[in-house]
Symmetry: C2
Subunit: 317 residues, 2 copies
């Protein structure tokens, strides 16, 4: 499984990824600054290829395979964004990708996987069934399993987003990151703390899927029991590779209610005129709900993705 | 009412506006290019101050008032974007703005006017009642009427958007512009044809509010009778200042159905991850419906605004 990521391996990933990803813009919005009393810098991974940051880790993982491994293709289980990302990463290297998806995955996320040439196998919407179905494909086809977050190459790839953010806005006081399985948070922590120990890094999580918060408080991995949140990208538990990094380096975890997540989505779409998915709204939601003291500070927020089922908005707004 | 606009007066407006507006980005999207078989360059006025291009014309009009006129404040009638824009333009010059709005104007557009300090007076949703109510305020308060589009200073201000677009992407073959009262189209025509006679300029209109199309075909002003379109910014008729410019210079008018407008909005929001209002989707809708031959060409499209009532999406998507 390789060595744990370091700032240096994240920098190597950054060079490796260069031809395959967009350098996404950093946007600001005075109306949103006024609402939270801080200066916010949004790293827009909703504009990233496949509509989410996941292409960073997936590309790094696929590009890191040796030629014999690569030939067998890749397989994963994913509620969506990682599936699309792995499909494109595999397509870019000319190898096959099999994606195991819960049968209740949104139509938009299914279509994205197919757009990039991924082959979908449906499973029941439990973590156990996802993992078993992926394992079967791995055994039958010789494909290499690329786990959505509990994988050092994924973590390294994800860490490149904050490198770009800090290159553009070096004098941030804090970075906030949505947290599901903890891949983005782990990569951000290693990169950010490697560059500047004093830079605060906070994970943000839906209070309806608060395993990272509870694990951080307890100092040990507390698995998620239920995840009844609209932030569909964050319905997963930390893994044994991400949790130790988070426990060691994170400055805090913040929670956001479902109401707050919708309010943050609305604020970003109405005032910034950009489309984000619920998971991406979670850090801003935590700020709107005063869960972190940011007054007068310069805060980077990674807007993790923009793959929103517009039809679903009708049920929420 | 001053002299008709020229390329030179539009360039003067551009310098005048500089401190008061954003230079908006030009975005591209390969998925959208593939759909229409052309290379599209979207000038993102949805990211403009007040969320629409209207601040260009409104600022130019307010900044052009002499000090005595300015002191009396300004008044207009508007279904929304021009009202917000004039409110901010007046606030920037420290004078008052009265905005006459139909009582059925969306909550988002009402709130925007209030945000920028405009004072709203409601009227019935007919052009006659709007104009009469504005005229009363003009007489009672000494405010100067700034018409939403039938005004040379407005047209000049609006013409600055295409100057910026052409500075960034000089080798366009065509520019497409949403058309309601014709202010944006008139300004675009004078600026674009002033710079490059061979550059084609096409106006795009909802087929449910096709007065500009019919006026262009007839060679005389054909007023709009009904305007049953979701493109609420385009429910107005050409005026006696905009129509002569359009008749003389435009290369064609294209129509879009309501279904096409929704499809174009969905495409932009799902693939480009940006929020646009229905009016802004009309040129792309006309392309999706094969109303203009653009195969292999380089086409600029002005995305006129992003002031969307998210609640209304539920009825459409």
């Amino acid at each position: 499984m390789g060595q744990p990521p370091t700032l240096e391996t994240i920098r190597q990933a950054e060079r490796r990824l260069l031809p395959y990803i967009h350098r996404t813009p950093v946007l600001t919005c005075s109306a949103t600054n006024d609402r939270v009393g801080a200066r916010l810098f949004f790293k827009c991974e909703n504009f990233q290829k496949t509509g989410a940051f996941k292409i960073r880790g997936a590309s790094n993982a696929v590009l890191s395979l040796d030629p014999a491994q690569a030939e067998g293709g890749v397989v994963t289980h994913s509620s969506g964004n990682h599936g699309a990302a792995l499909s494109l990463a595999a397509q870019n290297r000319g190898v096959s990708a099999s994606i195991v998806m819960p049968s209740n995955t949104s139509a938009v996320k299914q279509a994205a996987v197919r757009t990039y040439g991924g082959k979908i196998t449906f499973c029941r919407p439990t973590l156990q069934d996802r993992e078993e179905t992926a394992r079967e494909i791995e055994l039958q086809t010789g494909a290499t399993l690329i786990h959505p977050y509990n994988d050092f190459r994924m973590i390294e790839g994800h860490g490149t987003a904050v490198l770009e953010l800090l290159e553009e806005i070096p004098d941030l006081d804090m970075v906030m990151v949505p947290t599901g399985g903890g891949g983005l948070l782990s990569g951000t922590l290693i990169a950010a703390k490697g560059l500047r120990k004093d830079l605060q890094v906070i994970g943000a999580e839906p209070s309806q899927a608060d395993d990272a918060y509870r694990s951080w408080k307890a100092g040990e991995l507390v698995p998620l029991e239920t995840a009844n949140t609209i932030a569909d990208g964050l319905r997963t538990s930390l893994g044994d590779k991400t949790f130790p990094i988070i426990r060691e380096l994170v400055d805090g975890m913040a929670l956001a209610t479902e109401k707050g997540i919708l309010e943050a989505m609305r604020l970003v779409m109405e005032r910034m005129k950009i489309v984000i998915e619920p998971s991406a709204a979670v850090p801003l939601a935590a700020l709107l709900e005063n869960q972190v003291d940011v007054s007068g500070r310069r805060v980077g927020i990674i807007l993790s993705g923009g793959n929103l089922d517009l039809g679903a908005l009708s049920a929420w707004m």
